[in-house]
């Protein structure tokens, strides 16, 4: 099940709709890397609101998406992690390290805008 990636100006928004398998996640990572390069995107938002669990593989893939995007000049924000999901992650000992997070899509966009403006880019 491919995750739809929407291009909104300088920002790519990937909103996950259903539970993903490991290979779905890997595919998402590769497609995002490709599209960030192609569109010269400045920001990536990963909307995980619908996910009821984020395990070690998912956490690692989210970190790797952010890392790859950063190498190509884009800042990533993960949005919509639910309270139970966040709780489960810390109990298991998982973290997203320095990946930015925000409450929801709206907050994520506001956060991106602030980060990019600080860097002298204006979000289109």
């Amino acid at each position: 099940m491919a995750v739809p990636i929407l291009k909104q100006g300088d920002v790519l928004v990937a909103s996950i709709q259903v539970a993903l398998t490991d290979s779905d996640l890997v595919e998402l990572r590769d497609r995002l890397a490709e599209q960030v390069g192609r569109h010269r995107s400045r920001g990536v938002i990963l909307d995980v609101t619908v996910l009821d669990v984020l395990d070690s593989f998912a956490a690692r893939t989210l970190r790797s998406i952010a890392q790859t995007a950063r190498l190509r000049g884009a800042h990533t924000v993960v949005v919509g992690i639910q309270p139970e999901v966040a709780f489960g992650m810390v109990q298991l000992g998982l973290s997203l390290e320095d990946v930015s997070t925000a409450l929801d899509l709206e907050e994520g966009l506001a956060h991106l805008r602030a980060v990019l403006e600080r860097r002298g880019h204006h979000v289109r």
Binding site: Q82, P83, V85, A86, L96
Partner: protein
């Protein structure tokens, strides 16, 4: 409704065939008891209404039983169930279904607030009456009559154990609910400004409490769309490596949801001694005291706090 309740109780109390077997073993019930009971079955069933009356007459003389006796609906149902109980006691089938039927009466007692002493007194009174009648049976040898009564007594003690367990279980349920309420009270999450929460932690943090604090903080973050949380640990009794790890976990979890956490009230001594045992608090955003933490939180949110006197030094205070 009571019946659904007793089925739920069977689950909650973990009653299954194995548990019933252990209970029967506890009262020393053996297959050889079955023919003993069979021998008195007809005699007991013939007088079931007398025995039932005896039981409730005894209760009616006790102040402790008043809550049950004053509700006509409850009393009628109790009489029905008790009658069925006496018949089943000599029925020879003491499996899970038997236990479940006794639970219905027990949960009715619990709901009516029947005192355990009153119940035990009435049950003993009932047994005494059955025993006296059995001793009068002329056609059987006295030893056989005695053995029959002792076998019946095992069933009675099995029943008593079950009913007392339900009474205790239901009483503990109230205690469990109260504990839950106290726990909730002890981890207040306060919204002090739009999108800003204050989490004052007082007392001892153990693993269970840390979980509750984290859970209630995370759901408050979502409910209030909080962006900044000030977590004040001034009132935490001792901060050792375990407690520090709990604090770190709570902060990490809130961050995953996009909320920034400022920890206040960590003394320099505590921070240093934690660093000495290898606990890195450098990733925490710490501010010395609560006031400083609140100011920092306001800055993050973009508030500018000015003293009223600095803005309008001569303006009179509005009342």
């Amino acid at each position: 409704m009571q019946q659904g309740r007793s089925q739920a109780l069977v689950h909650e109390m973990g009653l299954d065939e194995a548990n019933i077997d252990r209970r029967m073993k506890a009262v020393g019930f053996e297959p050889s008891d079955l023919p003993n009971i069979e021998a008195i079955k007809d005699a007991v069933v013939a007088h079931v209404d007398d025995y039932n009356k005896t039981f409730f007459d005894h209760l009616s003389r006790l102040e402790e039983a008043r809550p049950l006796l004053t509700s006509v609906a409850l009393l009628d149902r109790a009489k029905q169930l008790k009658r069925a109980h006496i018949v089943a006691m000599v029925g020879g089938d003491y499996g899970l279904l038997y236990a479940e039927q006794r639970l219905e009466l027990a949960s009715l007692y619990a709901a009516a607030g029947l005192d355990t002493r009153a119940f035990l007194g009435a049950f003993h009174h009932l047994l005494k009456h059955i025993g006296v009648d059995l001793m009068k049976q002329p056609e059987r040898a006295s030893l056989e009559r005695f053995e029959s009564f002792m076998s019946l007594k095992k069933v009675a003690f099995f029943d008593i154990a079950l009913i007392v367990d339900v009474l205790v279980f239901e009483r503990e349920r109230v205690i469990r609910q109260q504990q839950e309420a106290i726990r909730e009270l002890s981890t207040p999450v306060l919204q002090v400004r739009n999108r800003m929460l204050l989490l004052p932690i007082i007392g001892i943090i153990d693993t269970l409490r840390a979980r509750l604090i984290t859970e209630s903080l995370l759901s408050s973050v979502r409910q209030n769309r909080a962006k900044v949380v000030v977590m004040d640990v001034t009132g935490v009794a001792t901060i050792d490596s375990k407690v520090a790890n709990h604090i770190l976990q709570t902060v990490t979890a809130a961050r995953l949801m996009g909320a920034e956490v400022i920890v206040t009230g960590l003394s320099a001594d505590v921070a240093q001694s934690l660093a000495a045992i290898g606990i890195d608090l450098s990733k925490l955003n710490t501010v010395g005291d609560l006031q400083g933490g609140m100011e920092e939180a306001e800055q993050i949110l973009g508030y500018r706090v000015l003293q009223a006197s600095a803005v309008a030094p001569t303006a009179p205070l509005a009342s």
